[in-house]
């Protein structure tokens, strides 16, 4: 089971690889679209990579609820402990 910081850091690396955004900018309070300029298609790529890395399922219907990095980290934490 990964800690919150481990998940955030792993997610930051994924966002960096998919969208070219500096990993240090990917903090819990940041909005994917408004702050990080991750568009909806890049978000799909981030989600697929996160599913693989963290061993969770993030259905299409859930993706639109993941507004901030914190939302995504919390979703992955919950999914891992489920």
């Amino acid at each position: 089971m990964a800690s919150t910081e481990e998940i955030r850091s792993g997610l930051a690396d994924i966002v960096n690889e998919v969208a070219g955004i500096p990993a240090d900018d990917v903090q819990l309070d940041k909005s994917f679209t408004d702050d990080l300029d991750v568009d909806s298609l890049s978000m799909v790529e981030v989600v697929v990579a996160a599913e693989e890395q963290f061993g969770v399922k993030i259905p299409d219907d859930e993706v639109k609820n993941l507004k901030t990095v914190g939302d995504a980290v919390a979703y992955i934490e919950n999914a891992q402990s489920a």
């Binding site: 298609l41 799909v44 697929v48 299409d60």
Partner: protein, 334 residues
């Protein structure tokens, strides 16, 4: 005593003998598309990679575009129309439902009385047709088969729908498939998933349209993000399987010709497949848009015309779309 039924005598190998393309005359810019939707040239380029696309003029009908592309394919294959044993047209935008437009195409080309029929597998239709044609020749039920992918999607696209108006376009591509000394068309990997029927579809049935107070032409609708996910990642697995079944790896490929759905899907698939640098990737979508069944032959023809690909190159075709349906095969370019 009942006589035994004879078995048709087929051939061992098939290949594409010639390819032809028809691109409609009218170029439509992103700025023109944005006259009807709240978007911008930059947004469209970023989300789709499309710089411009072509819409057919009134005289550039599904039949006319099919015939033009086919004549080029026949000429390059050095096959006469009279030698064609079957004409298969893959399309979803010939708006006379019956009879099949393939019969008119065959008649105009001079292929009559060859069997002629349409297939409906949306964007995957052309690769379905290549497989059907190849198997027909292998089984001995024909020697040369003409396969055409053609669309006039501008007729069934809602210019005010922000999700699709900038994507779809028109065109035709054709190939002549026939016998070969060595294998030129690998095993097909294909399938369909009707549980995702609603993700890309005609919005209304004709019956429902007629029940409306003010009947409107049905148009295409697409749920972009789930389609992007399926196309980019599930289809990369199908592409790998087609390579496996052909006994190849990505290192053996010269050219990758995926359905030109969206540049972002092409990029994501290429990353997922880990294509080596030497593989030429078709990016015809930038100037043709998404022409559904026509996109794979149009993109392959464009690479051959520009010299980026050459005759004898090994190419991976993969097409996918409404259904959701898909088909992929490794081929030798003509």
């Amino acid at each position: 005593m009942t006589a035994a039924i004879a078995t048709a005598q087929g051939v061992g190998h098939t290949r594409i003998h010639g390819i032809g393309a028809f691109r409609p005359s009218r170029i439509v810019t992103n700025d023109e598309i944005c006259e009807h939707i709240d978007s911008s040239d930059e947004w469209i380029r970023t989300r789709s990679g499309i710089i411009e696309r072509r819409f057919a003029e009134p005289h550039e009908t599904v039949q006319m575009m099919s015939v033009e592309a086919s004549r080029k394919a026949l000429q390059r294959a050095d096959v006469d129309p009279g030698q064609i044993d079957c004409v298969i047209v893959a399309t979803v935008s010939h708006l006379l439902q019956t009879p099949a437009v393939a019969t008119l195409v065959a008649e105009e080309l001079g292929c009559t009385p060859a069997p002629a029929f349409d297939i409906s597998a949306a964007c995957a239709g052309f690769c379905h047709g290549v497989s059907l044609a190849s198997d027909m020749i292998r089984s001995g039920n024909g020697k040369y088969v003409l396969v055409i992918g053609v669309e006039r999607l501008s007729d069934i696209t809602d210019p005010t729908d922000r999700g699709t108006a900038f994507i779809f376009a028109d065109g035709a591509g054709a190939v002549v498939i026939g016998p070969a000394d060595v294998e030129g068309i690998g095993p097909v990997v294909w399938g369909a998933d009707g549980s995702k029927f609603d993700l890309i579809r005609q919005n209304e049935t004709w019956i429902d349209v007629l029940d409306m107070e003010e009947p409107e032409m049905p148009t295409l609708r697409m749920d972009g993000n789930p389609v992007f996910r399926w196309a980019s990642f599930e289809m990369a697995k199908v592409a790998r399987e087609a390579l496996d079944r052909a006994g190849m790896t990505v290192d053996d490929l010269d050219v990758f010709v995926p359905h030109q759905a969206n540049m972002r899907i092409i990029d994501a698939m290429a990353r997922a497949l880990k294509l080596p640098e030497h593989v030429v990737i078709a990016r015809d979508i930038a100037y043709q848009g998404n022409t559904s069944a026509a996109s794979v032959p149009l993109a392959a023809a464009a690479l051959l015309e520009s010299g980026e690909a050459k005759s004898g190159d090994t190419a991976l075709f993969i097409a996918f779309g409404a259904g959701l349906s898909y088909a992929a095969q490794v081929v030798t370019l003509p």
